[in-house]
Symmetry: C2
Subunit: 372 residues, 2 copies
């Protein structure tokens, strides 16, 4: 049995034109260890926008013969995407749907709904290895299972990383995101103090609404004092930062160092002996990271944090345990909320695209290709 | 038997006055596991200047009644030294000398010359536990043994840190220092490719003179290209940076990432999967560290590196092995060269102090209290 359907593609040409289009693709018979899934739900995560729109200037959006959209990538940003020039890239890291065909070693999945990760999820059909999917628990919808990988495993990965480093409490920036809310629910469940840094009262309210104790607003005049107090109270020595640019990460590490020095009984001109670790996992601000490290002492580290390298380093057993927990708490700790469900064609509607590209607080889009 | 002698002290008062003086102190009978050493040689390391002069403004130097010097610590820098206000601090991390008295469990050291670490070495006499000294090999002078801890263990620590991280080659900044020359000799002995970054032709010449292959001068117009080439040729993925401030560390990591991307066969918008690590171990430039991390990929880390925490984490067996190697290669790999030997009183001579505080290329001072 063969399936023909649409697949969303993003391509950057030599001249810097980024084009989005829906291609007709045919999905052949599944191999013995494969299945074919009719996709019913795929979230638009910040990481998907990175592949979809790259470093294009969204204000240059134009329609092309009614069959797609084009954008211009400014000259200065093209070096960063040199590796993908001329390649038609599928988009969509994760999704969920109904199994409509199975290879002979995968028949146990016949007719089930599954969650998946692996790219090319903004499509009608996806052929995938059986081992790369997770059957959804009974009663769960594809919308429930669409985001069961990236955000849940990232939140669990943060906690696992903090535990391995011997940290007792965590600081998180851009904390009102779907991921941030998930991390707060997880930390509440596991009894880990979490300091949430947000940029508006509305974001603070979202987190307070789900039980957050420590929420500090970086727009408040007394932000520095409140951050220091929250770090002092919780003893946080590790931070996960989605912003990256500017001085916020540095301010967090400084506050950790001040709290550590306040607990010291003897002067050491190198600062405290407490290891303070900042992980940068996002790039909401792509400008340089400024580290005022003279106020850190010498026991500090700043690193990139990315889900896939983390999963590789964590080992199969840990990943298996994490995945099992996601299934178990899929509609509680790891529930995702979507503010808008759109069809696959709608993803290329200029107004819709501008809306999900804006990444407004509390907004999250889900693509359901069965809607058109 | 009691010994009376001078000890150099540094003190910062509430009003920001830093004063240096020579105090008369009495060293009593050694405890059973102690010895008394008449100090004959103690180097002036950058780390000693940190305790000696703190963040004082050296241009404010004044003499006080012929018995010492005073300096002013600018208001803005006082918070960093709040912990030592009002305390009279001894100075001098390491040194060497002749054992002049021993406790009953330390008589095996009678009449020997030993190298020591532990502070308060800018003095005529030092009581110290026998386990904290290393007897010098036959024929070695106190000058040979004066610097057998900080620089040798730091150079060995860099190599050990690089090996543990799986790195094959090393980048070092401010590479013409005594430490840098030692690291170059060590890397030559151990067959580890080393990229030396210097700031003048004179510094480059020093390193070429001891057999360095890769030396790049950051003042050259084509520095970026030369650095990239050296990193590409060596495959260096770890750097030890004495400078800290500005963009040099970031440029090194970027060059490592470009070299890694050049070896990749498939595009990954997160960058290479190669871990690139920058360790900041000094602060020749105390201004903020600027990380242009968008060009790093996500597999990177920047950390503080300090000798004592490293030794603690390395474990007793490794430290023992490192110390044994220092003794064995004391006058070859780990030889220190001094350009000027001064007495203890001379250390407080305004002109002499300005000279050693300047840290000019190739210059290194040794204090010999027996000279007066």
């Amino acid at each position: 049995m063969r399936f023909t359907g649409r697949e969303l593609r993003s391509k950057i040409d030599e001249d810097g034109t980024l084009s989005l289009s829906l291609e007709q693709v045919e999905v052949g018979d599944p191999a013995d260890d494969e299945i074919v899934v009719r996709i019913e739900a795929a979230p638009i995560n910040p990481s998907d926008l990175g592949m979809l729109l790259g470093p294009a200037d969204v204000s240059t959006l134009a329609t092309r013969n009614g069959v797609g959209l084009t954008f211009s990538v400014p000259e200065s940003r093209r070096a960063a995407v040199a590796g993908r020039i001329g390649q038609s890239e599928p988009v969509g890291n994760e999704g969920a749907g109904l199994v409509v065909a199975t290879g002979k070693d995968a028949s146990f999945l016949d007719g089930k709904r599954v969650g998946m990760i692996g790219g090319a999820m903004y499509a009608d059909y996806r052929a995938i290895k059986a081992r790369d999917v997770i059957p959804l628990p009974d009663g769960a919808t594809s919308a429930d299972g669409a985001s069961m990988f990236v955000n849940p495993l990232t939140a669990l990965g943060f906690v696992e990383t903090a535990r391995r480093g011997g940290h007792q409490a965590i600081v998180h920036t851009a904390a009102a995101s779907n991921l941030g809310q998930m991390l707060q629910r997880l930390c509440l469940a596991d009894g880990i103090p979490l300091v949430n840094i947000v940029r508006s009262q509305a974001q603070a309210d979202i987190l307070r609404g789900i039980g957050a104790t420590h929420v500090v607003n970086s727009k408040d005049a007394d932000f520095g004092a409140r951050l220091a107090q929250a770090i002092e109270e919780t003893g946080a020595t590790v931070a996960f930062d989605a912003i990256g640019g500017g001085t916020l990460g540095s301010e967090i590490v400084q506050a950790m160092e001040r709290a550590a020095i306040n607990r010291m009984t003897e002067y050491n001109r190198y600062g405290s002996t407490v290891l303070k670790q900042l992980y940068i996992y996002g790039a909401l601000d792509p400008s340089p990271t400024m580290l005022n490290r003279m106020a850190f002492g010498f026991q500090w580290g700043v690193s990139g944090w990315l889900l896939f390298p983390f999963l590789q380093s964590a080992g199969a057993e840990t990943v298996q345990r994490m995945r099992a927990r996601v299934v178990e708490e899929l509609t509680t700790t790891f529930a995702s909320r979507y503010t808008r469900v759109i069809g696959l064609a709608e993803a290329l509607d200029p107004d819709v695209l501008r809306a999900y590209e804006r990444k407004a607080t509390g907004e999250k889009f889900l693509i359901d290709p069965t809607k058109g």
